[in-house]
Point group: C2
Chain length 505, copies 2
């Protein structure tokens, strides 16, 4: 039985220990014990990690200039956290020492436990830990990365050396941000950090829990619920422990913080693979669908959608309805966005007569292009200027039947200038309706336009369908919150947070 | 009625005219007539465009050092092609002059015809052209880009100047390649060129046909069928003219060259928007689905899939069945790929007993990792080395029940080195089964690994689901070809082409 009296405070020690020892710290480049100790040493030198650090290895006198201990027993000070990378067979001895030393938490990176059938090893360390009051993350995991406190137990170095001798960025750590990610798969977790770094999406905490012999996804979610730095939680899982508890916790958390889940093993083949990967049964996919729906967890259909939805929820408030308007300077991409919205259950309704007559009036005054269409999508045509985007957006935000806006600004067209983004960003602050941006292209200006959108707090996507999928997250989460009577409160808190963030730009 | 006796030869003049005049050529920077004439002038100077070029504008004596004519009547030599950017009202006069001059083809960039209700203008120019034997592309289009002949009528300059004075790459032209793209939407076409450039996907020809008052998608497809440089055809359409003719032509073309279609306007809102955009009725989406299925046209569900599928078909042969094997060093991404395959109708079957025993044998000999799983996906685990990928891949290629392989090489893991790609690339040449690559990440090494895959002729994708979607294109096209008895011949031709391409690396 799980110890129900374990406090969130204790779990926080995983992310901000006053002292940490790396059991198996090494001088040998590339070894897990070298990478992990070096992460801590570097972050301490930079002033990010504030705790004490101790290398532990009976075969070394010092590692990276830090005095090395043959056992944690000989560390002269109190010790809150240990990171274990020594072979599976001796982990139980380390755990016994840790109990004696009064350690609070242990991150066991070491593999070779229940995932390969060594249940005995795993049961033994759990038994020792429970008796001694130590909480365990892992084993068979990559542990924790906290962008704010500098805890970084990832044994995958930021750079890798090619056979040519060239060095390359391989597993970068993302910048600080407000998205937390939990991953059952360590490799996918590392790859996700790389993806998020490249997409310039910041994160607060990253947790890989591997075999989850003690701490599981539900407890981590509860911890993130209380974490001031985390606004959105991303969960990659192949199986979920104790479904009822997960549902209880999720139901509580999603009242205040959105959870986006990528649950793989949906199909027979996927489930078979997942079962061999983590040793857990995936369970029927329909059950997961129903559980997510009931508890307000947004389910992503694939990897890209997972991150795209997370980004949308970090930047923008949820909607209070499913009516979306699309503003575009390019007909084709407008049609694509409309298709995806309707396929995913959003509504692209015609505009009200009042808005239509305002629109026609602006056309008559030549403020909007003569041939722009007043349907939804509103197509400003290729002659759209930045100013026309401003007028068009205001019309759509004022339209009572619209809950959110997708703005597609294809920068290739001749009249549009980069400041259309600024105009949109400024208008957005006057309203509560979410805005999603889109520009297509993979070279200089497209990347610049999307990053300019994001400086204004507008998540921007490189294809119309991805923009629509991001809106799906805002709509589905908003409707859930509205249904349980929590939308207004969420929006109030969101406004405070967003204003705080936007000042920083 | 369309002139059925117009030959493909005449249409080829759009892409390689011996002489071309730009009607409305201008000295004024940023004007369409300046950008287009300057494209030709630059490509002529670089030796890419081999024909003669003539600026036509009554208000200029010369443009970019070329003698300017007040009318095409005064051009002293024969004239094959004209590009028209003057206002809609005077296009008919230009067309009359063109008939007198014996011009063969006209690309009418000018907007303001049937798309805004000016049917009379459009009918008039069509009437003049038909009588005079001139073929028209457009009006209301961005025309043609041919990476081999240097024809470039895109009025969107490669760079744009920001308000700060900084210059940025805005509408780059992709490198020469073997994918052709046809787009009903000019803006989407321009954005697509940007996307393809950034993704380093080369193209042969790009055609935007706008209102298609004369030449339509079916004729262009027929032309591309005969084009030596084009191996795969991408079609973006919101409506298709004369469905029966399109089906006839597609059925013929797809025997030898795959067509990937992104048909938008699938939903009610999308169709409404498409109708306002191009003035054409989209028709029922089910009808398009059925038409594509019957004629072997691969339908993409969204923009990313459109390009991803196109790239797969350029690089790899279609399969002869739907059984796919997945080889991975990371469990999670393997599960995601398996899910997407099964959802899309591919089969991830268990391996044969023969392969399983070979696999177990390699494990016993410690050639494969002790805990790698012999299910499908085959998970080599995080301790996979490049050599293990080689052994694993050979097993799967030799497996008689496997038609294609997805290789997921997450570079973040410690033991894998970049040369796993080379080993895979070399083995691939010994077999006929297609291979799709995947590595996740958006920073240096992930991008490097994917581009290294592609140097070996293996299309590589940044998410497991996209890799599976690429395989969907190879499977669906292969099954279509097999069904109509054309697979063997296609594979023979493909082998010749691929070998030619791979020598170039």
């Amino acid at each position: 039985m799980r110890q129900e009296n374990s406090t969130i405070n204790k779990l926080e020690t995983f992310f901000s220990p006053k002292s940490v020892a790396v059991i198996g710290a090494s001088k040998k480049i590339g070894k897990a014990g070298n990478v992990i100790f070096s992460n801590f040493a570097q972050n301490k030198r930079r002033g990010i990690f504030k705790g004490e650090i101790y290398p532990v290895n009976p075969n070394e006198d010092s590692v990276l200039g830090f005095k090395c201990y043959s056992s944690i027993k000989y560390i002269p000070d109190d010790l809150e956290s240990i990171v274990i990378v020594v072979p599976a067979a001796i982990v139980k001895d380390v755990m016994k020492d840790a109990v004696e030393k009064g350690v609070e938490v242990a991150i066991i990176i070491t593999a070779g436990f229940s995932e390969i059938g060594n249940h005995e090893y795993e049961e033994k360390i759990v038994e020792i830990a429970r008796k001694g009051g130590i909480r365990i993350l892992g084993p068979n995991c990559i542990g924790v990365f906290d962008s704010y406190t500098g805890v970084d137990t990832l044994f995958l170095p930021e750079t890798k050396i090619l056979k040519t001798g060239d060095v390359m960025v391989a597993t970068p750590r993302p910048m600080p941000g407000h998205m937390a990610m939990i991953s059952q798969s360590g490799a996918f977790g590392a790859a996700a950090l790389d993806y998020l770094t490249g997409q310039q999406i910041g994160i607060s905490k990253f947790v890989s829990f591997g075999n989850k012999c003690d701490v599981d996804e539900s407890e981590i979610i509860q911890l993130l619920y209380n974490d001031q730095k985390t606004n959105v939680i991303l969960l990659y899982a192949e199986s979920i422990n104790e479904g009822r508890r997960f549902m209880e916790i999720s139901r509580q958390v999603t009242k205040e913080k959105p959870i986006v889940a990528l649950k793989s093993g949906q199909t027979e083949a996927g489930a078979r693979a997942a079962s061999s990967h983590t040793g857990a049964l995936s369970g029927s996919d329909q059950i997961y669908d129903a559980a997510f729906l009931q508890t307000g967890v947004i389910r992503a259909r694939n990897m890209r959608e997972f991150f795209n939805m997370g980004k949308a929820l970090v930047f923008q408030p949820p909607t209070s309805g499913r009516n979306i308007a699309i503003l575009t300077d390019a007909g084709g991409p407008g049609v694509m966005a409309a298709d995806e919205c309707e396929i995913r259950g959003l509504r692209i309704k015609k505009l009200s007569n009042d808005t239509l007559s305002k629109f026609e009036d602006l056309k008559k005054k030549k403020i909007l292009p003569e041939f722009s269409t007043n349907l939804n999508p509103v197509d400003l045509t290729g002659s759209a200027t930045s100013k026309m985007f401003e007028y068009g957006l205001r019309l759509l935000l004022d339209e009572p039947n619209t809950d959110g806006i997708i703005v597609i600004g294809i920068h290739h067209l001749p009249a549009i200038e980069e400041d259309f983004v600024d105009l949109i960003g400024n208008i957005m602050l006057e309203y509560r309706k979410p805005i999603i941006g889109c520009d297509i292209g993979e070279t200089e200006m497209a990347i610049y336009i999307r990053s300019r959108f994001e400086k204004f707090g507008i998540p921007a996507y490189p294809s119309p369908e991805e923009a629509s999928q991001a809106m799906v997250a805002l709509v589905n989460y908003g409707l859930y919150l509205k249904n349980i009577g929590c939308l207004e409160e969420y929006l109030k808190r969101f406004d405070e947070k967003i204003k705080l963030n936007l000042k920083k730009v």
